[in-house]
């Protein structure tokens, strides 16, 4: 076992191995890393479960294939064995719904005092979302 860091909303170190190019991580770390668990009914987050058709593709004696989990959840991933990291993006369907059906994706980011704030906390108001930068 070595350490593989999963980078999604935050960076989470997990125990895992690189097996034929796949990042296999300890099942117990999956929830910490991406907020989903592998249960008998599938991949689950609270009351929501996504069925897993071919369980052998994601689960083996080496652990859970994290890129395969990301694929099932519709999230892009970047495997980097040289840096022992797996970077997982947001579900592509959230962005495509934003663009085609105009549903504003919620997000949580820290304000300048380090307090987490969510778009949804200002629901019920008209909002101008302004993306800017110092660069």
């Amino acid at each position: 076992m070595s350490e593989i860091t999963i980078i999604s909303e935050s960076a989470t170190p997990t125990q895992g191995n690189w097996v034929n190019g796949a990042a296999c991580i300890d099942a117990a770390s999956l929830n910490d890393a991406i907020g989903w668990e592998l249960k008998p009914e599938g991949l689950c987050q609270e009351d929501t479960c996504v069925p897993v058709e071919d369980r052998a593709r994601i689960e083996s004696g080496d652990g859970i294939d994290i890129a395969e989990v990301a694929r099932i959840l519709g999230r892009p991933s970047l495997l980097s064995s040289s840096t022992n990291t797996v970077t997982i993006g947001q579900p592509s369907v959230i962005r495509s719904r934003a663009l085609s059906e105009r549903e504003a994706p919620n997000f949580t980011l820290k304000d300048l005092d380090g307090e987490p704030r969510s778009l949804s906390s200002w629901a019920g108001k008209k909002r101008l979302l302004v993306a800017f930068s110092s660069w």
């Binding site: 980078i7 105009r102 504003a104 994706p105 980011l109 108001k125 008209k126 101008l128 930068s133 110092s134």
Partner: protein, 183 residues
């Protein structure tokens, strides 16, 4: 209300820029917003209504007229459009524009950028450089990738390399995820 999101990791620079501002300013060092909303440059402004519907998708709008000569975009026009929306529910015609989705390369570029930022924070500068380079290869005209990485790599986002990027961008027909402008 205005919610400002800094596509930036430099808390000090953003704190300085935000002096005297009363609306919320959020930090997005991992560029989450550029992935969720398909944003490729700043400033980009999105109008969201009371029911979480996007009324007008990303458009370049400015708080000042400093760049009006270059961009053809006037602050007053946008402010009047916002007032018409807030008071009379009138939205401009260009609001129906459908922003194209990110390409596979642009999605991967965002992951490469995010990894580079993580590696840089871990002090792994050489590895970070490798992934900043790969991100820029994947999305060479995306300002949130190429220009945003300049200060993280010891470069100058207002210097020669920015003008080179801007020239390449214009030569390519100014590809932008947002409402296109005539100028």
């Amino acid at each position: 209300m205005v919610i400002a999101v800094a596509i930036d990791e430099n808390v000090q620079a953003i704190t300085d820029l935000s002096e005297g501002i009363s609306y919320p300013v959020l930090m997005d060092p991992n560029h989450l917003l550029t992935e969720l909303y398909a944003i490729s440059n700043v400033p980009s402004v999105v109008w969201i209504d009371e029911n979480d519907k996007i009324v007008r998708p990303a458009a370049a709008e400015f708080g000042t007229n400093t760049f009006t000569e270059i961009t053809g975009i006037s602050r007053e026009t946008h402010m009047q459009q916002v007032r018409n929306w807030v008071h009379d529910q009138i939205v401009p015609e260009d609001a129906s524009y459908v922003v194209p989705d990110l390409s596979e390369e642009e999605i991967q570029a965002r992951l490469h950028f995010r990894l580079a930022v993580h590696l840089r924070n871990e002090g792994k500068v050489d590895d970070a450089e490798t992934y900043f380079d790969k991100a820029a290869e994947l999305a060479p005209l995306d300002f949130t990738i190429v220009r945003a990485s300049m200060p993280l790599r010891g470069g100058d986002p207002f210097g020669e390399e920015f003008f080179e990027l801007y020239q390449k961008y214009q030569d390519a027909g100014s590809p932008f995820h947002g409402i296109p402008r005539s100028k």
